[in-house]
Symmetry: C2
Subunit: 207 residues, 2 copies
């Protein structure tokens, strides 16, 4: 555990920052999700996901962004990428990446990330799953915007990689956010979906 000049680990520093910024956290789920054949799998981490979603999180002031993967090699890969930009030479080369990647955490499971948020807030976390298909628990964006005004409650927005979050994840969430309605085509990348959803929830609606 690397400690800085003040004897505080990067993680401790970041945890402090997480709580203060916002009550919205993003989870990018690499397991459990479906593959093309609707089998439950673990996907590999995509470097572009980390950067794009971290930048969106920073832009819209989310509290943190959890990369969720049970695969030890993937945990180490993600942590190495983050460390490069937050503490390594990357933070000199491109300081804007340091700012965004400081919001990123790696967790083995959704529950592990949930516990971290819950510990920070000393409150139960409201889980909101997302997906490209309609679901019986769907709430629309306006409803979720209203819920988010309860600033004492942390919200955990879950996004599935691959072919999306499993039914079990959706069923065990408090809410499932309505899909982004397109013109009959609903195959956005998860990066685009996160960008649009954060903008709809946290962006300037008067523009």
């Amino acid at each position: 555990m690397i400690k800085n000049l003040w004897g505080v680990t990067q993680q401790e520093q970041n945890q402090k920052k997480l709580k203060m910024e916002s009550n919205i956290y993003i989870g990018l789920v690499h397991h459990p999700i479906y593959d093309k054949r609707k089998e439950v799998v673990a996907t590999a981490i995509t470097n572009f996901d980390i950067h794009d979603i971290a930048r969106c999180a920073k832009t819209f002031g989310a509290g943190g962004f959890f990369i969720i993967t049970p695969l030890e090699s993937q945990v180490q890969l993600a942590e190495r990428i983050i460390r490069h930009w937050v503490e390594g030479i990357g933070c000199v080369y491109n300081p804007t990446r340091k700012e965004s990647l400081s919001l990123v955490r790696v967790s083995r499971t959704i529950d592990e990330a949930d516990r971290e948020i819950s510990n920070l807030w000393q409150a139960r976390v409201t889980r909101v799953a997302t997906g490209a298909s309609p679901h019986s628990k769907n709430i629309d964006f306006g409803f979720l915007r209203k819920l988010l005004k309860d600033e004492k409650t942390p919200f955990f927005l879950l996004f599935g990689t691959g072919w999306g979050l499993t039914e079990e994840v959706k069923d065990s969430s408090d809410y499932v956010l309505a899909p982004i309605e397109g013109k009959g085509y609903n195959h956005l990348s998860v990066r685009s979906a996160v960008a649009i959803i954060l903008d709809r929830l946290l962006g300037d609606r008067t523009m």
Copy 2:
């Protein structure tokens, strides 16, 4: 030139489709744009840009998506990627990519793409540049949404890769769209910016 059963080339087919779908076209500019030192350069094509932006274009019903690069090797690379998914074995493996990538064209310059749109519509193209910094020609999203209702006019939304479109490109455009306002951090990836801007212009605002 590959012709299909009806003796129509893929390009001819696509051109037809372009015109009918919408009066909004996207241009992803790889030159002229700035690099980190504000020098004018040509960036390399990013595979994720092609897929993510094509999917956004398809989702929100844009008329087409032009990849703009003057580098012959990059033109060929982009065309090979598109062909793989639209005509090659990729269209069997993942048909949703065929649908989105059918909207993609490659042009050497902004003017070349502009001419293609202008020929399709037999009308002057209104150019709208985008960027992360304020500009004297800035119009807001509401204003542009109103302009887009003029269905006889094609609009060409330009997005810069690297460190953004040059001042010359902005100055020679009809309008420059206001930046996406974040919480003091304006370093979204171009993929995220396209997703958010298309949603703000064409997405369901009642959600």
